[in-house]
Symmetry: C2
Subunit: 407 residues, 2 copies
Amino acid sequence: MITPWEYRYALRTQRMSSSIIREILKFAQDPEIISFAGGLPAPDVFPVEQVNEACNRVLSDFGPQALQYSTTEGFVPLREMLVSMTDRGGMGVNLDNIIITTGSQQALDLLGKIFINPGDRILVESPTYLGALQAWNAYGAEYIPVPLDEQGMVPDALEEALRKGPKFIYVLPNFQNPTGVTLSLERRKILVELADKYGIPIVEDDPYSKLRYEGEDIPPIVLLDSQYRNDDKHIFNGNVIYLNTFSKILAPGLRLAWVVAPADVLKKLVQAKQGADLHTSTFNQMIACEVFKDGFLDRHIEVIRDVYGNRRNIMLEALKDNFPTGIEWTKPKGGMFLWITLPENMNATDLLFKAIDEKVAFVPGEHFHPLGGGKNTMRMNFSNATPEKIKEGIARLAKVVRREMAA
Amino acid sequence: MITPWEYRYALRTQRMSSSIIREILKFAQDPEIISFAGGLPAPDVFPVEQVNEACNRVLSDFGPQALQYSTTEGFVPLREMLVSMTDRGGMGVNLDNIIITTGSQQALDLLGKIFINPGDRILVESPTYLGALQAWNAYGAEYIPVPLDEQGMVPDALEEALRKGPKFIYVLPNFQNPTGVTLSLERRKILVELADKYGIPIVEDDPYSKLRYEGEDIPPIVLLDSQYRNDDKHIFNGNVIYLNTFSKILAPGLRLAWVVAPADVLKKLVQAKQGADLHTSTFNQMIACEVFKDGFLDRHIEVIRDVYGNRRNIMLEALKDNFPTGIEWTKPKGGMFLWITLPENMNATDLLFKAIDEKVAFVPGEHFHPLGGGKNTMRMNFSNATPEKIKEGIARLAKVVRREMAA
């Protein structure tokens, strides 16, 4: 029997897609499984003590304020901190350009809410972040995928895609989820110019930029766009909306992120967020502000870089030592993920079920491709498991892969 | 010049409406203004010390878990606590029926996301909660308003509205925001029967039920629906989705609420929430769980009832002592609001500007009417201001009202 609610849901045009990652993470609950499937930071680097001290100070000094409703834009001292973190190179960013969101996932949802009509097409990297597809599928988005190589989106393919008139471009420039690929400086400049030429704006999603383990920082697209415009009015009003998060540099369990956007877009985001959750937890915003004062952020990022950089090295080494020829993988200079490409005829989803029998898990890469494809690819997280588990997990996985290739 | 972002926003079919309450609250920042405009709990009753103790315990015992990503449904021990709080009268509620949301505002947004197509009509009380209208306007909802009297929605008007085929019914049965009116037991039973007769499901939004200052609790609609079905399969699968929140019984700054829904609806809510913010803050969920164990909730609600009940009495008395004849107001048995009706020819928005000159604020009632009307009505919050401020604020307001009536 169909209930009245089911009937009503069936009438709804835009459907939600269930996440395969979610289903897979259920397996990963088994403590014997070594999981490279999640996108989890290492819990051992969370600054638990600093958060606890911050809680005590916030509650003893500003208890009632911390537990009360607050404004939709976010806690002003936190936004002021983000203005000074963001306003590199005189982009003219000020308080009117910053909103705190309940994680970057909410920023993606709000962008969908204010920009996407059913049938609108979004230009995305292929593969791209699954959470963005999930957020925008709910608004009836369609996608124009642009293939990646080791330098990021391929310019010819990008220009061809721009000619199809996407609503906006979605790009993760640094150590992209899922591939770990970084968009080179040259290609960032090409992206800025092409976006301007075709009049298509850019959403830059940048959760991993601080997690660099080798090489030099590359300027964010938002800054390059500002320089390209050579705009000395000191008003932030370019072609780019910039997303970043506290999930990777502090703790995801607090659900804190921020958006930098032109003031007119920010007003729309504020209206959308009001209807979505009124505001982000006052208490958590005050905790982040308290933890990060006095330069703690820089010291803490060094710790994260050491731990994650080491885990990346161990995974790369283990892959080299254990995996047969004919399999390739990316060598990310930062972030939390690398990307494995199996021989054309192999299927990563089939492989996953066999891997789970051997107590190791990953995410099949096809789910990151908005229009399908990539059946022989897989995403591997290297930030969450300990070095010993990484070595053991890669050894288990190599056994499954070798068996499969021999079959 | 129109920016690429503005142009794209202009193309979007569903627009966000700006909140007049939000604009008014900006005035209320002036410390000299006595504001009855907000919907704020009294900060002096927040259990700051208990929250601080809970933070310390959660972080020292489960620090890394509290700061990590967690499941979309919510923290299991908190959901288990809510199962036992909710499953009165053997409704058969279990874990599969409960999701934690980032405030009830998010629950409203998620309901919009899974049920509302542009042009769908929602049956609402008139006046109704502004936040629901804001959430659903973004999905292109339209409204069928049903007028209220002192017993809640008028049955004849309700049946007439049901014949128009709304997607669902939205009702705040206890001490409704904005009027303070409570739906009587008899009318709740009629609502359950009519909803069943016309096959239209019900969203019951119940943030204030624990804030009762006189009289006896009335069973929630969700329970009456379950009894009406006389369903002894012990499966929660009726006609009602039930919303409640920690904002009024603990603290709104933590952004914690919950939804009780049939399992098939809950699955859709989980998918929608995944795309909206992944999950609600792990830390905050663990804090709530820790604060409320060992029966603290019941003791704390007694404190809130004393403080708010007293403030309600003081406001009612001050209105009686100061306001001229020809003006009427509701006498709510709980909650945070009462509703004033001015003479037909008076305009509450005009009055507000004059009131602000006298350093007192409220919300004009017309904004709570989805199709307009109610220009001579106003919403008054009695939970936030201290007794002294309530007396002084009502005296100031009475002066403005008298002057206006004499003009």
